[in-house]
Symmetry: C2
Subunit: 151 residues, 2 copies
């Protein structure tokens, strides 16, 4: 089983790939209960021409397909940016055990910001939350991307 920090490094590497392809740099991986990476994905909104093609959604769909189970019980999701409401909702539906994220997202995040979805009494499943892991490199990637766009 890879050590914990390797998982976010892998997600950051995927975020870097996304940036190289002109996408907002966000990467995600899903780790099985045995500690294996069963899904690797990155933001593909531009390439898939789909405003809902966020890294987390693609990773969840991929992991469901790999495991052949409707839900991802006991699986952990690592993502380089605080999930939005759509992705946080999908994480809850999929019964992700632990959610690790790097950069916080004041504008679009729905875990620590906005609706704080997992604190809502109507949420059916709440993963354990671990924010701020490798936050500096994740934020740096995003800053670099948006500076390029503005330049």
């Amino acid at each position: 089983m890879a050590v914990v920090t390797d998982f976010m490094a892998e997600a950051l590497s995927l975020a870097g790939q996304a940036m190289a392809a002109g996408e907002v740099p966000v990467g995600a991986i899903i780790v099985s209960p045995d500690g294996d990476i069963i899904a690797r994905s990155e933001n593909r909104m531009q390439r898939d021409n789909d405003a809902t093609a966020h890294a987390e959604i693609l990773a969840i769909r991929q992991a469901i397909s790999v495991l052949g189970t409707s839900r991802l019980v006991g699986c952990d999701l690592w993502v380089t940016l605080e999930p939005c409401a759509m992705c946080a909702g999908a994480i809850s539906h999929a019964r992700i055990r632990r959610l690790y994220f790097a950069a916080s997202d004041e504008k679009g995040g729905a875990v620590e910001h906005g609706p704080c979805l997992f604190n809502q009494p109507t949420i059916h499943h709440k993963p354990d939350l671990y924010g701020g892991i490798s936050e500096a490199p994740a934020k740096q990637l995003l800053r670099t991307f948006f500076a390029t766009k503005r330049g």
Copy 2:
């Protein structure tokens, strides 16, 4: 262009199909700015073995594929149940113009209940909202389905 009530009738028909297949009866359609139905979908969580395969998500993906555009600007979504946070988030990302829904969902809804997502200051796009359309038959379908399950 079909009259407005026909659109929810179409979504209800899809919900009925879902129920016949053993799914929680929820149906959705998306109507283009010209008034054409460009996506028809129903809940497929059981059949696709995917906890995120809600009718709205499938309809949005279908419409994006049909139109070849990343977002669904000017399109309207009709769904037989108040959307959850995942679907409401996707509706916002896709820039749906108007959201029409039938039955309200006190337990899992995220439009009029729980996080009331479209009232959050961090939401980037809020559709016009029309709840309670054809609520009685939509609720009846859901009641019938859950009564069968309990029976």
